[in-house]
């Protein structure tokens, strides 16, 4: 298989004055088109830094990111991000928030009416079309995150980057949104890279789980294939042996071999 997204020997060192901290060390990863990959690790292991490097919001100290064999080192809509705290612009309505990206990405290729239809199409995908004229302060946390997903999807990214997208949500809303993201992935076949710290979420959603060791100098400790057929159903998986085995592997990695040691 050809590598669609390739992380090539990425190191990241933060320098503050004379002090340097190596956050990421020698990260290598190839992701295929249409794959759903999760990166899991304890907090502070640099997984968000890694996502920011892929998004182009931070630059790697050495190494680089290749998307379809082209190096990317600045942010762009081909790697749209769904931020943990939704990051909708509060002065714009739901519709305008999604339209902001659409207008930029399809400025030349779509007419005004087509762009409008495309915004509504994406709001429909996340079942948020009914709230098109509401402002972010008027909708719930889960709804905001749906709009955040619609905004990212509407840019037709080559890779969709999810930065702990369900972290700030309550358990029920989270489950509901996970199902939505799974359905969207099934329907649209996006390539998705998700940062998470939730083991169940990682196993449920991913084709592969990338487990990171603790920082500083975090590396990829292990990559686990999740051989579960899609579409996956939450309740059926609860008793599936494969599911439990995968879950067990991740838990062992996180809590036995790479226990989170509180910085002394």
């Amino acid at each position: 298989m050809t590598a669609y997204l390739k992380l090539d020997h990425i190191d990241k060192v933060f320098t503050r004055g004379a002090a340097t901290t190596e956050v990421l060390k020698d990260i290598n990863l190839t992701i295929e088109k249409g794959e759903y990959v999760s990166i899991i690790g304890h907090s502070g292991c640099g997984k968000s830094t890694l996502l920011n490097i892929i998004a182009g919001l931070t630059t790697a100290t050495t190494g680089g990111v290749l998307l379809e064999n082209r190096e990317v080192n600045s942010p762009g809509p081909d790697r749209a991000v769904v931020f943990q705290n939704h990051s909708l612009l509060p002065w714009l309505t739901v519709y305008e928030n999604v339209k902001l990206g659409v207008d930029k990405v399809f400025a030349k290729t779509k007419s005004r009416a087509e762009r409008d239809a495309w915004v509504m199409h994406n709001l429909n995908l996340v079942q948020m079309a009914h709230a098109r004229d509401k402002r972010p302060s008027e909708i719930s946390g889960g709804m905001k995150q749906r709009v955040g997903i619609a905004r990212a999807l509407a840019m037709e990214p080559k890779v969709l980057l999810l930065d702990e997208p369900f972290g700030a949500l309550d358990a029920l809303t989270r489950a509901h949104l996970q199902d939505s993201v799974m359905a969207l992935h099934q329907k649209l076949g996006n390539t998705i890279l998700m940062i998470t710290h939730d083991v169940d979420e990682a196993v449920l959603l991913s084709d592969r789980i990338v487990m990171m060791t603790n920082g500083p100098s975090a590396r990829i400790g292990e990559v686990l294939e999740v051989p579960l057929a899609r579409p996956r159903k939450r309740l059926e998986l609860a008793t599936s042996a494969t599911y439990l085995k995968c879950r067990q592997r991740v838990l062992e990695f996180l809590y036995e071999r790479h226990r989170f040691v509180e910085a002394a």
């Binding site: 998004a55 182009g56 919001l57 600045s74 942010p75 762009g76 809509p77 790697r79 749209a80 991000v81 931020f83 705290n85 990051s87 612009l89 509060p90 002065w91 714009l92 902001l100 990206g101 930029k104 990405v105 402002r135 972010p136 302060s137 840019m155 199902d179 159903k233 939450r234 309740l235």
Partner: protein, 298 residues
Amino acid sequence: MNMPATKIEVETATPAAAAAPVVALTPKRPPRAETYARMARETAVRVIPPLVVIALLTLVWELVCRRAGSALPPPSRVFKDTKELILDPFFDHGGIDKGLFWHLSASLQRVAFGYSLSAIAGIALGVLVGQSVWAMRGLDPLFQVLRTIPPLAWLPLSLAAFRDGQPSAIFVIFITSIWPIIINTAVGIRNIPQDYRNVAAVVQLNPLEFFSKIMIPAAAPYIFTGLRIGIGLSWLAIVAAEMLIGGVGIGFFIWDAWNSSHISEIILALFYVGIVGFVLDRMIAGLGKFVTRGTAQN
């Protein structure tokens, strides 16, 4: 997909769903008279206390200044002396012998001009200082020193530079009100959450789009704080400046009244100055509230 779970929910939910319409069928809309009565009460709660205080203060003033030989006139005298000015603010006998409306409007025109200039320049400089670390390092110390200079201290210098009262007054307003606008705008720009900058970076907004779509809306609450302080300061400055430059204007009107010992006219003018200042402040506050209605929350 989660059929078993949903089924259980449906069964338990049915009684509740049946009970709900019963509540909905008895609408408790309060009668119209009751709504009006409540609105009247709410208005009264806000309006009556200040009215009582004003009445009491006027009474005390009347009692204190009533005695023979009192330096200041009591309110009844003020009203008697200035009745003509109050009733006819629009007369114009040529020169500086004009009604209060003309004096106030001359002052307001100067403020409008000087304040608009300072709003534009202040926001522009504030954006520069907020966005660029080097501009801040270079300019901030200068601003911190210049902003402490009292408005009137600029007047002789601007008279020397412009050789005319009108532009000097406008310059004084400009230089007085620009500092809070610059400083607040810069703080607002510096406080734009990194998240919004990230969104702009991913969407690839160009600098102009970033300015209009992210920067200005995100910093708007701060900018309007600066604008509100600025309008107050410019109204303070204009009255003082006009006392010195002469001509038509509420400041000069006060000075002229003092020179001709019309104390009652001074009191009336102060009353108008206060009201206009209050209205200006409320206008900017209202405009700010309207513009930032989405940003303030969240």
